[in-house]
Each structure stands twice: as structure tokens, then as C-alpha cells.
Amino acid sequence: MKIGDTEIFPTKIICLGRNYVEHAKEMNSQIPKEPVFFCKTINCLIKNGDPIIYPRILFENEELNQVDHEVELALIIKKKCKNIKAVDFGEYILGYTIFLDITARKLQLKDRGINLPWYRSKNFDTFGPIGPKIVEDIEYPHDLKIELKLNGEVKQSSNTKLMIFKIQEIIEYLSKYITLEPGDIVATGTPSGVGPIHSGDLIEATIDKIGTLRNKVILEEE
């Protein structure tokens, strides 16, 4: 997959849940004591300018018809790593980019409510736009303005300094569980202001020093 002019070969996408206090509150979720993580599969990935496809199986079912935007700072792993210490995290990061964790919200809440896995709601094709480029030289990733506009209107606006678990803690924690491979994507959680998108909408996700990721939403063809 090419992001800007960098080509990566991710084997997995790990996403943090509930990593901004205000977002945990808006979801009526508890503030976690340790990072909450889940995975998205590679079929989600699309690039800057590619359409997000709104699945008909959600659109045509009133109980499932809600798809939300979630803007996140993502980092790309540089080399294979396991059991990394927080202080060494910089060695293992290739760079930073913007990730949209598109989520079938009603489906997620339905599954969560009956103790089912958070999987299908997060992993429809095209539910993981990433880009517009990978920026390598961000010295301090915890003071970046992060914003999402829907059709020009600001919906999410925060700063990466408000992340509950910082990147070095996330890498230390994750790599205790799983080996991370070069190209793997770690999305660090979304701030508050998540909300629904519809066919025809334009999403613009912006993070300081990285740029703007733009994707239009279209309804799946019959």
C-alpha cells in the first residue's frame, strides 16, 4: 500500500479504544486503566481521495443504519519488535499519519451489548482511510491539533496531548502481547465529537504537521 510516497506492507492494524477522556464519556464507557485495543483487517484500508463505501446491508436496515467517523493519529512500525521499553519507542516508529476508524455504530453497540466481539462493525471494506502521507520527522507527537470536518463543518477538534495513554506507553503495552512487524499500523484512539456520516458527505481529517486526509462517502452499488 502506498501512502504519499512511502510504500508499506502492513500485516495488521491495531486500534486503541477509549484513549481520550471526552470520547470515553460520550460513549458512556469507563476510563480504562490499561490500553483497550482491537484490530482492523487489511480489507479496510483505502487512501486519500478514495471513496468510503457505505454498505447496503447497513443502509437498508433501520436498526443498523449508522456509520460514524473517528479521526485518529496513527503510527507506522519501522521494524519487527516485541517487549519494547517505553524509552526506546522512537527506534521502532517509521512515522505518523492520519487514520479514520470508520465504525458501523449501531452494529457495534448491538454486538457489545450482548458481549459479542467488536469485529464486523469495524471491518467493512473501505472502513480504514489512511494518509495523505507518512511524516517521519515529528519530534514530539503529543502536541498536535487533531480535527475532523464534515462537509466543511468542524465535528471533532482536540489535541494529541489529551491522549490517556501516550505513544511510548502504547508501544510498550502492545509489544508485550504481540510482535509488531514493519508496516504495521497502530491507531491511537479518537477524541470526542464522533458522529454519523451519510452518502454524499465529504470528510476532511487534519492533524498538525501531517496534512489533511479527504474521503467522500458513497453508497454501495446494488
Binding site: T11, I14, C39, I42, I114, F124, Y177, I178, E181
Partner: protein
């Protein structure tokens, strides 16, 4: 990229089906699902026949998390890129079958489920997805829903069932999964485990057998320092 017997596959994802044998559903006291329950495992899980399953220290040294279970499953491997496959075209898109062990950190899973957290970390620790010993081609197995499936720990039979007890059959799974996601060549679908799941400890030898495919053998070892 992983070599299974004499075939090399390049999976992009592993999709597992939960609660798909009636005997296992009764054992776990979970409700009978109306549609397949899916969860992912990441590729860092995959190991081959005879590779060790590493028992992580972060589980072993924590009384509240110290339980790792075996789960033998029939897996099918996707042959070509596909989306929206109707049931009657299922087998055109399957390359073959293998034995999969969906190794699970059970206490961690239960804890996460009760807190409505994702089923992820308990399922996707390194080496928690042995597969093998080979891929039986689609032509070798005329009826994948009549295969004896068995798992032994240290020679003792722990799981013993037949794939005819699958609640959602392979065509049901293929149609459902591809209504949601695009599948890629090499992708692995594990179809769920029968009853008899239970814990393993370092030193244990697990032998998972499915008729017409073979026996997948893995030893459990404690993570080194």
C-alpha cells in the same frame, strides 16, 4: 507468508467463528447465535506443525489471568479474491482445508467480555494460532461436513466430535462473511470448536486431528526471559 505442508500461503487475515458447535454452545452456556459470530486473529499468531506454542509470562505470572485453552477447528483457506459469494458457489473459492488450533487466554477473554471489551488480546498473542500439518485440497475432501475432529493433550482425548455438528455450515459462513468483507487468496477461516475445551500448561503436548487432513502437533513452552 507461511508454509503449510508443501503449500505456501500469504494470508491477509484470519477470521474465526465463535460458538459454532451445538455441544460447545451448551458447554459455554452462550446463547445459540442467529447469525455467525466472527472475530479476528492477527497474523502474529500463526505457527506451523511442530512449532512451540509460547505461554506468555504475563499470563503465567498472574493468578487472575493464568489460563490458556486449546480449541481445535476445521479451517478453510480462500483460493481467490471474492466478495458477495452465494452459497452454491462457495467451493469454487476454497483452496483447501487444514487443522487450526484457536489457542485462547481464557480468563483474560472472560474478563474482557464481561467488561464489554473487544475479544482481541486474549486471542492474538504470538503463537496462539497453530495451523497444519498440511492443506488438504478441495478435491481430497468431498464432504467437509462429515469429518471426525479430535484433540488430545498428552495422549488423552479432550475434544471429540464431527464436523457434521457445525451450526453454520461452510456455505453459510462463506455467504455471510463475504457479504461483509472482501476475502483475499490465502485468507484463513476457522469454523469454530466443539465441546471439551480446557487448559494447557508449559510442557503439554497438543495433538489436533481431523479426518482426511492429519494431525497438528504442538508443544507448549513457557516464554523465555
Amino acid at each position: 507468508m507461511i508454509k503449510i505442508g508443501d503449500k505456501t500461503i500469504n494470508p491477509t487475515k484470519i477470521i474465526c467463528v465463535g460458538t459454532n458447535y451445538m455441544d460447545h454452545i451448551e458447554e459455554t452456556k452462550l446463547p445459540v447465535p442467529k447469525e455467525p459470530v466472527l472475530f479476528p486473529k492477527t497474523l502474529n499468531c500463526l505457527i506451523g506443525d511442530a512449532d512451540p506454542i509460547i505461554y506468555p509470562k504475563l499470563l503465567f505470572n498472574n493468578r487472575r489471568l493464568k489460563r490458556v485453552d486449546y480449541e481445535v477447528e476445521l479451517a478453510f483457506i480462500i483460493k481467490d479474491r471474492c466478495k458477495d459469494v452465494p452459497k452454491d458457489e462457495t467451493y469454487k473459492h476454497i483452496m483447501g482445508y487444514s487443522v487450526f488450533n484457536d489457542v485462547t487466554a481464557r480468563k483474560m477473554q472472560t474478563k474482557d467480555i464481561l467488561s464489554q471489551l473487544p475479544w482481541f488480546r486474549s486471542k492474538s498473542l504470538d503463537t496462539f494460532g497453530p495451523i497444519g500439518p498440511r492443506i488438504a485440497s478441495i478435491d481430497e475432501i468431498q464432504d467437509p461436513h462429515n469429518l471426525k475432529i479430535e484433540l488430545k493433550v498428552n495422549g488423552e482425548v479432550k475434544q471429540s466430535s464431527n464436523t457434521k455438528h457445525l451450526l453454520f455450515k461452510i456455505p453459510d459462513l462463506m455467504e455471510y462473511i463475504t457479504s461483509l468483507f472482501t476475502m483475499e487468496p490465502g485468507d484463513i477461516v476457522a469454523t469454530g470448536t466443539p465441546s471439551g475445551i480446557g487448559p494447557v500448561l508449559p510442557g503439554d503436548l497438543i495433538e489436533a486431528t481431523i479426518e482426511k487432513i492429519g494431525t497438528l502437533t504442538n508443544k507448549v513452552v513457557l516464554e523465555g526471559d
